[in-house]
Symmetry: D2
């Protein structure tokens, strides 16, 4: 009997970002997990992406895209729109689709895996910060809106968490990156993916029903906003 026995969980874009570690932890805790691979479409193909997904108790809105970093003066239109098409518009569509159904059933949880980057701002990542900032702001407002219906919507705003998209092992191993860590991340290391997954599970559990619309920084002390 795990912490999520009997719970049905839907995880998007599962082979990227925090998808696999959350899936594994959810399975280990007894959840019934449905997953979909690949970018969640932000357009009319969205309906196909979620077709046949059983009504979930919990949605893990795991949306990620290469950060497309570079100077703000050189942002390419295709990069800019790709960030919004894969991370921002699908998040709205997931909440728009699932949250009212959860409200009708009287309970539900949505946990978005976003980023701490917009909490401080990072030079050279302005496009990424904009898209992640849109996500965080949307989660905050939607979280307050669905709170009275016993649906809790929150976000894990992570940075410096091991994952192939943003912190592949070969980057982390470099001396330059290790120096950067010592200077910028008080914990002095990057997090294992499982550690971020644990926060996601806490926010997906019955234990956190009083937490809504919250963007929880998870960045080893790099961002401690409140």
């Amino acid at each position: 009997m795990g912490r999520f026995s009997g719970k049905s969980v839907f995880i998007t874009q599962v082979t990227d970002y925090m998808g696999t570690p959350i899936e594994q932890l959810m399975l280990a805790e007894g959840a019934k997990v449905t997953t979909r691979e690949g970018y969640v479409p932000g357009d009319e193909r969205f309906a196909d992406y979620i077709a046949d997904v059983p009504e979930p108790d919990i949605v893990i809105a795991n949306l990620a895209h290469s950060p497309c970093n570079g100077p703000a003066g050189d942002i390419r239109d295709e990069d800019w729109f790709a960030l919004f098409d894969t991370m921002v518009h699908p998040l709205m569509k997931l909440v728009r689709h699932f949250a009212p159904r959860m409200a009708n059933r009287g309970a539900g949880k949505i946990v978005a895996i976003t980023s701490a980057a917009p909490l401080r701002g990072i030079p050279g990542f302005s496009a990424y910060c904009a898209a992640r900032g849109a996500q965080n702001a949307f989660i905050r407002a939607a979280g307050l809106e669905f709170a009275p219906a016993n649906v809790q919507i929150n976000a894990v705003a992570q940075n410096y968490v091991s994952n192939p998209v943003y912190y592949p092992d070969e980057l982390v191993a470099t001396e330059r990156f290790q120096k950067h860590l010592q200077r910028n991340v008080p914990v002095g290391r990057i997090a294992r993916a499982e550690e971020s997954a644990e926060l996601a599970l806490f926010l997906a559990s019955d234990k956190s029903d009083f937490i809504v619309g919250q963007i929880v920084p998870f960045a080893g002390g790099w961002a401690t906003n409140t």
Copy 2:
């Protein structure tokens, strides 16, 4: 001799939101003001919108759209995309175009007129919060990026400021709205447009060269985040 004598200022979407009050105050302070009317296009028509605009010392990124409020479960695609098309993508294009030129000249100011809504989140305004949140996050990151080049980029994150788009006089005059004000806005009134314009001018002036990437709440105490 005004505070902005000899300064050239470019104001977008001037007949909406804070455009006119900022234009009037800038003119009264001696600035040379260039304006454009109507939504700033976020697509390939952007180049036309800013064609023939003289190189400005100061850009007022005044971008606004009806909030398209309503339940998150009922967000219409056309409303969602209209908010991003008129407020988010054009802001990137304005910064991408003007900030590097300012950096090359060794000085410049961009002031975005955004919103305090995403700082707290407002149920029923999740689409609007998402778009304004994207703006705020972009300004923060771009502000840090251009800081070393002596270009200051900041935002006025306002709420409860008199303007025809969001707070038309007939709404403000209602008893219901006045009660709402007493309960939610410590100052107990909405701001005159000129008051917000004064903050924009402070951020556009030489007096605030040490302030960068800052989203300044301007909401009568409704939002006091730091």
Copy 3:
């Protein structure tokens, strides 16, 4: 075998605020719990208060005092200093005493139970906000400082949680308070003490080793700062 089997936990001022619910949950999860009753002295009597406390793996810095609310113009010196003497100075002394010992042992957790009040500010509670704000700021800085030593220091910044000090049942039952809740707390209810205790346990557990210096709002959506 509970989540805290083999862990030794020290809880201060246990019969007030979140002391008892955290003690009960810790005991149910297998922890060895040491408690002390009454205000933690902020002066030379501090040493007596913690005398004979076994070296704890986890310290729950549970410090509370009547909010002494009232107009800022009428703050009584004795109330003001009582708030700092019971909540602020003892928190420093607890961290000063225990955190370096934890660092020497190579691991440890301190969870302070503070308040969300200073995150937004509450008219009529300026003294209380000042004292709680001092706690939150101290936890943030100390949390960053001890992060490299594998000691995690964080705070639960709660509001609208059932407890005899601030939200006694007879207050909560009034129609006036229920109306206040509907208007100001998106979740529409106060939290059970156990719900806040669950967040404290999450922050006290091995699962949150990457979270440091964080002030986690726990207020049903009343405060959602990040």
Copy 4:
């Protein structure tokens, strides 16, 4: 005719921190300035400190003390209490004394010169962060409380501003400090004291009547919280 002609201004602890630059700018702008030197007493001697101060339109609560930095495990009681005695308790006493009088007269401004340090937290400065955090939280709550009475109370939360207490010229000139600046302060320099004074004057002016309870970061991009 200056911006503050006819206004009476009271500045505390004038020979330290931002006292002199604010005094000079206020005098240049036509204000009648009353000053007191030395720490503002937080005890029964407070009444003597402000005796004979004419009723001011504007109070500049300029309170500073050596940061007494060092490891949290080594905080000396006398340093800890000195920080609260000189920065925290006097701020309450200034607001408690002057704000109600301003409310009775129907207008007034209090600008506290505090610090951005608690907005991010600084290892090794936990005592200083605690005291400055208490100030910021008190200003936020008191600012909301006096807002309906047309009294505006705000803070300049500065860091990296030239002043003899925290950033003496001989420190700033070191190569080590210059490297630190390049890494941590996006603007790449420390601010002149006059720049911070300009923000204080903006918050003390009639132009900012809609801004209340706000802690405005002024730190060259080091802290950009909202």
